[in-house]
């Protein structure tokens, strides 16, 4: 285990593209989070001009709701695609440089190669989660007037949802990279599917008559981003009585995990069957 991690670390440590893309992801994340509150209030101001009773100023980054809101914004498709592309590059590089052949020749098994990439995904997701948790704590403390320990950690379960989302979405990326092997093609197809094709299919599959239980919500990428499905905007709860998501649900986590396990199984089977 330690040996496989050491090998992977050496590949990443001085790889500039990895750090640039990871840095970009963080930059977009921070900008996105700062923009979110601003944009919501812009919308509110817009609506207020036509309403007799104005909606009060919306704040979303205070405890305990800050956990749910930050993880929601951090896991929208357009942000999530960055770490997934990083993973695709790390995997398809092995095919481009033919180092996967050389690693097998030198004495790695195909199973070990898959496991070492999985460990990187796990670690990458874990580090991102820790960083986001620290960020959320700082933002929350800065935006909450009366802080109690209970209040701080009340909805912190959502950070686990972020970890699950990162983990499963990157396994999808691994699946794509190992099957297609070509960097450009993998990124193009993965991005096209996640950002364009699936939303279109979702739209057409969704029956307007049935709100719940339509099959479109079982589309793979949708299950992943639905782990944290809705933001919590307290004012909406008060004004409209909407109560969309209180906590993570077991089925919400298990379905994307099921997809991820299935994909890992397929990748392993294909790797064993296919010539390198």
């Amino acid at each position: 285990m330690k040996r496989l991690l050491q090998i992977e670390f050496r590949k990443i440590l001085t790889y500039r593209i990895f750090w640039i893309l990871t840095g970009l992801y963080f930059l977009f994340l921070v900008l996105g989070l700062l923009m979110a509150e601003f944009m919501i209030n812009n919308m509110v101001n817009d609506i207020n001009r036509r309403l007799p009773i104005p909606i009060p100023h919306v704040a979303i980054y205070f405890f305990p709701w800050v956990w749910q809101n930050i993880t929601f914004f951090a896991t929208i498709r357009y942000v999530l695609i960055f770490p997934a592309i990083v993973i695709i590059i790390l995997i398809t590089n092995e095919f481009t440089y033919k180092t996967i052949r050389q690693n097998v020749i030198n004495g790695l098994s195909k199973g070990e190669i898959l496991v070492s990439k999985l460990m990187i995904i796990f670690l990458f997701s874990f580090v991102m989660t820790v960083l986001l948790a620290i960020g959320t704590l700082i933002i929350g403390i800065a935006n909450t007037s009366e802080i109690t320990a209970g209040l701080i950690f009340d909805k912190s379960i959502f950070i686990l949802g972020f970890f699950m989302t990162m983990l499963t979405f990157q396994v999808f990326a691994l699946f794509c990279g190992f099957l297609l092997r070509n960097t450009g093609l993998s990124i193009a197809i993965f991005t096209l599917y996640s950002l364009i094709i699936e939303p279109i299919v979702y739209y057409f599959l969704k029956s307007p008559l049935v709100f719940e239980n339509n099959i479109s919500k079982y589309l793979p990428v949708n299950t992943v981003i639905s782990i944290t499905e809705y933001p919590a905007i307290p004012v909406l709860k008060q004004v409209m009585g909407l109560h969309l998501q209180d906590s993570l649900t077991l089925s919400g986590c298990l379905i994307p995990a099921g997809y991820a396990i299935l994909m890992l199984g397929i990748v392993y089977w294909v790797m064993v069957k296919r010539d390198l």
Binding site: R3, Q6, I7, R10, K11, T14, Y15, R16, N93, Y97, K98, T99, R101, Q102, N103, V104, I105, N106, G107, L108, S109, E112, K273, D275, L276
Partner: protein, 298 residues
């Protein structure tokens, strides 16, 4: 002798093309085993199969008397086709990855870099290397940890004369330490210079194998002529070293089992009452011999 590698009836098809068909080989410890054949004769497919990069359609092979595994691969140092390394990593870091895979310490890195003349460039990125240096780094990586077996696929392909000489000298040096070497090449002269044993492949089939000195022995032929070719033919067959004869317009082309002195040959016919009107020795190049071997069987 202990077998390092045994291959039984290996076959691999790519669509309609039979890359390797029914190949069986045995490589003993300490041999320098050449797999000789023209391009497309199945050399690389064979090497890729025994390193488990590709799956054979049928047939089996054993390393060190056991079914192949990642453990057996760790005891083998290999260079297959192009040198495969991370372009953005330094030479030393690329070799550290190889050490981690083979579960050996980093202590050997400086030695192999020095042996291949790359020590000064150990901290340069692989991307900045010339083709010859890349090839040498591949050989350096194969040398890590003094493996029991080295597999080299066309090790001098694409190198300049100086590079070829360097790599060949390295191979001889490693072989002298008793390391078993399995080497694919399309260069007959390379196999003859470096190898103790050889298998000749053509279109995925093994034509011959054995000791280089036997399989690749080059015999000269003699062109003989006399007034009566019939009489010449009859008498030459009585020569104690006679091997074969082929009539070629106006001459007989004759092969003997060993080199025969032209003067002695002349005397032989004279003593039998036949005067030669023509006698010349035809030197045969290695390439002609190789082509004749392959032609003969195909």
């Amino acid at each position: 002798m202990e077998n390092i590698l045994t291959i039984h009836g290996l076959s691999k098809r790519y669509g309609k093309i039979r890359a390797v068909s029914g190949l069986s080989l045995e490589v003993g410890r300490g041999q320098v085993f050449g797999i000789l054949g023209p391009n497309g004769s199945g050399k690389t497919t064979t090497l890729s199969t025994i390193l488990e990069l590709i799956r054979a359609d049928s047939g089996t092979f054993e390393w060190f008397g056991k079914p192949p595994s990642k453990t057996s691969r760790k005891r083998i140092g290999s260079v297959i086709e192009s040198p495969n390394f991370f372009p953005y990593l330094t030479a030393a870091n690329n070799l550290r990855i190889v050490c981690d895979i083979k579960e050996i310490g980093y202590g050997d890195i400086d030695r192999v870099l020095t042996l291949t003349g790359l020590y000064e460039r150990r901290n340069s990125r692989f991307r900045t290397f010339s083709f010859g240096m890349k090839q040498r780094l591949a050989v350096a990586s194969a040398l890590l940890g003094n493996p029991e077996v080295m597999i080299l696929d066309e090790p001098t392909n694409g190198l300049d004369p100086q590079g070829i000489a360097h790599i060949r000298a390295l191979i001889q040096q490693v072989a002298a330490q008793g390391t078993t070497i399995i080497m694919a090449s399309h260069l007959l002269d390379e196999v003859q210079k470096l190898c103790t044993h050889v298998a000749v492949l053509s279109k995925g089939k093994k034509l011959f194998d054995g000791k280089v000195s036997e399989v690749l022995s080059v015999s000269d032929s003699y062109e003989l002529s006399a007034r009566s070719l019939d009489a010449l033919d009859r008498i030459v067959r009585t020569h104690p070293e006679f091997q074969s004869v082929t009539p070629t317009d106006g001459y007989l082309q004759v092969w003997f089992h060993r080199e025969v002195d032209p003067g002695e040959l002349n005397r032989f016919f004279y003593e039998q009452g036949l005067v030669l009107t023509h006698l010349s020795v035809r030197k045969r190049t290695l390439e002609q011999h190789f082509l004749a071997l392959i032609d003969h069987e195909a």
